[in-house]
Amino acid sequence: MNLMLALIVFSPLLGILVLSLMPKMQESSIKLVGILATLPALVLSLAVFSQYKNGTELFAYNLKWDWIHFGMSEGVFEIPFELGVDGFSLIMVVLTSILSVLAAIASLHIKKEWKGYFMLFLLLEVGMLGVFVAENLILFFLFFEITLIPMFFLIGKWGFHEKEKAAYSFLIYNGLGSAVLLIVIMVLFARTGTSNIDVLQQLLTADAGHARITDNVKMGLLLALLVAFGVKLPIFPLHTWMLRVHVQAPPSIVMLHSGILLKIGAYGLIRFGMGIFPEQFTSIAWLLATLGVVNLLYGAFLALIQKDFKMVLAYSSISHMGIVLIGVGALNEAGIQGAIFQVVSHGLISALLFFLVGIFYERFHTSEITKLGGMAKGMPITAGFLLAGAMASLGLPGMSGFVSEFMAFLGLFDAMPVLAAVGCLGIILTAVYLLRAVLGMTFGKAQREFTGVSDISSFEWAPVLVLVALIVLIGVYPSVLSEPLQATLETIMLGLGG
């Protein structure tokens, strides 16, 4: 029995415990504990990652305990507590633990009630890590819901002026999404007697299929899954809540929200949608690709006219999630690989950009593009990083954004060339809106004096450097991701019959 994964997931709990015993007002030590508590998960997940690179099989980390069983006799309707990872989920775990540390550092900007903040923050981390290591659907759902509650409070208490509205909007949209997800999970569980992802995969894709789940039911379940994860991703028109969250939540939380939480949608679609219902998934691939192109263009067009940089980033997230859908919809190896790359790459890039938003929000209390004009004069380094982030986001070769977009479109051109051609417009638009926003901020007409404003300083260096380094690393050496993903991709392609 290997406890590694359980340790990774639950290590932030230790921090919560320590924090709960600390007095409320010790600001600096609370912040220190908060940051330290995110480190064990990072160290352990990196350890697993490096062991995997050195040839350890991932199933060695599987863990299974008896947990719940319903009904009279044992053996049926069991929900064990089972954790495990494959290449894809391991990458997500590593990404989560890296971004958690960086977001914890970004949380140094938080101004009030640090104790409550960090306790919720760590709980959120438990939820996010758990989502990616859960081996059965009910456990997945449990962790999925655990992320909901801390997010509600983190937005509603520490956000900006319309925070409560944003928190409610988050809660209700995601609540509905997870309600639909719960229906799917319970139908599968009640009708097959298992909620283990791998077992379900085998049961439902076997030649005869499962007697109690007909093809029509499968189709219905898949569409329900699409809605459930579509809220999370978000897919147009289910995206309004996410704009509010991006603008109203504190930047440190948006780093996690945009970096990890949105990606749960993509993870779910690929892992469950594609994994459990491959046949039905193939038949709605055109729909996904179309939705992807719509997302891409819709986000890009609206990003073009935003005055607030946070809104630009919010629409940019919608647009970039479109690329994930495009890759998934292409249904070939390049496309799916591109989608997964985009998940990781966008996680890093949006975390970087939101960290920078946090930096200048801290100094100027605004994120409006015109009010920040001429920033390059006063804060050259910050402005430089901002430009770097924007370049990565618009897909400059040599950075991670390029690899993912390239592969996703390569996949789609192979499968649906016309749609891909339309989608390419989005790439041009991306460059336009990002450059418009970033150049407006860095070189635009100066609205204020920048003297006496400190440029990026002390602790703020660490996250920026780490993120830029990772973005460039993936850009110039994509194998760092593609190698661990190889096995997962092969399994998926096998399932799709390709």
């Binding site: 947990w67 719940i68 069983h69 319903f70 009904g71 009279m72 309707f77 009910i138 759902f141 449990l142 819901e145 655990i146 909901l148 509650i149 509600f152 409070f153 509603g156 208490k157 409560e164 409610y168 809660l171 209700i172 609540g175 509905l176 309600a179 639909v180 719960l182 229906i183 319970m186 139908v187 569980f189 009640a190 009708r191 109690r212």
Partner: protein, 505 residues
Amino acid sequence: MDLEQMLSYQWAIMTPEFIILGIATILSIMDLFMPKNQDRKILGWIAFTAIIAAFVSLLGLVDLEVTSILYDTFRLDSYAKAFKLLLLIGAALVMLLAISYEPKEGMKEYKGEFYYLFLTALLGAMVMSSSGDLITLFVGLELLSLSSYILAGIRKKHLPSNESAMKYVINGGISTAVTLFGLSYVFGLTGSTNLTEITGVLSANFDTQQIYLLGLSFLLVFVGLSFKLASVPFHMWAPDVYQGAPTPVTAFLSVVSKTAGFVILLRILLTVYGAAPSGSSTASYPMLIKMQDYIALLAGATMIIGNVIALRQRNVKRLFAYSSIAHAGYLLVAIAALSAFMFDAMWFYLGAYLFMNLGAFAIIQLISGKSDNEDISAFAGLYKRSPILAVSMGVFLLSLAGIPGTAGFIGKLNIFMGTFYVDPAHYVLASVMIATTVISYFYYFGIFTQMFFRPAASDEKIKLPAGIIVVLVITVAATIVFGLFPNLAFDFLHTSFNGFSDMFQ
């Protein structure tokens, strides 16, 4: 009946009832002879001890075979035992709330009655769950109802309390009449009031011409009993009564009284209508299966009405009244699905609901307290005034909303299992249930907003009476433990009661 026969009965199976009855009698006499200005709290503690004693004696009876005495009118089968355990736990916690209850006015002179009326009400509920005969059933029902009527209006000089008692009596009277009317058809058609005999008559040679009469009786009984469940169509009393009644009484009505209602409803449905045929051919389904759609309809209406109207409430107790209506709806879903998981789901959900709801009421009682301020804004800034209370309330609210990690989630999960397990699956009903659950997030999280986001009106610290502390510790622990390790409860249920297989013996 001669003395010898009287003595030959196994009276031991009624030990829990005798304890409650005996102590209630003793308390009423003690109350008479105690000096006027002496503190009556001691009576409350005696009553609490009595409930614990009854609980322990019932645990001693758990392994007993199914036994019935008094010509089958009182039966102790595993079904009765399992649910009586819940009733006793609920009543014990309510009693602790009652001991700590100190309203502004209108209670001083009736403190004694306050305690022993809870005991008689509890006795009624216990008799109901053990009844094998329509007569004992009705006697239990009335004992519970009459005690509750007085309890609701026990704050004599408090206007809302009087109003609530009045409304409760009138509504209760009507519903009792409807129930009795329905039961009279059953008696008329079968010639017996004994449930076992009725089952025999209905399943053997029942004149199929009279099926429609029996169907009518089903609807009347179901509608009449929905008064106790606080479900549609007899839910209208709940908001007014919950709001006006003293908080421990409200807690009692929402938990113990509701549980008793479900216990007896299920017993009648399964024994009488589970045996009755629904069509002229011999191979037809039992009537209960045919009636599933009506139950599902009422369950859906209950969930929608409860959750939607709760959105508009400012008064906490009123809000919890609608929430309690909504939860009755969830429980009806389990009955409507009639799956293999029904007993498990109902027992567990009622248990989970007992803990989370009583915990919430303990805090409501404390917050509304002496000021009689029951507006939701009374919770403002609770996190600042008392973090422990705010977090405990948070646990109860999350559980009521059905968030994973709490007992409420497992309860809902189990009900879902049932709806999807049966063929054909109840997709619509389950969807209504889950959609209304999401609606309920609005009002439960509204309380969160008050507790955590709003500034407190006063910095006054809140004093925690001993009784409330005990209740909070037990309820928080149970809500979380049964949420994380539900099999502690399920295993107990399965090993001790073996799926209630002796219900029809």
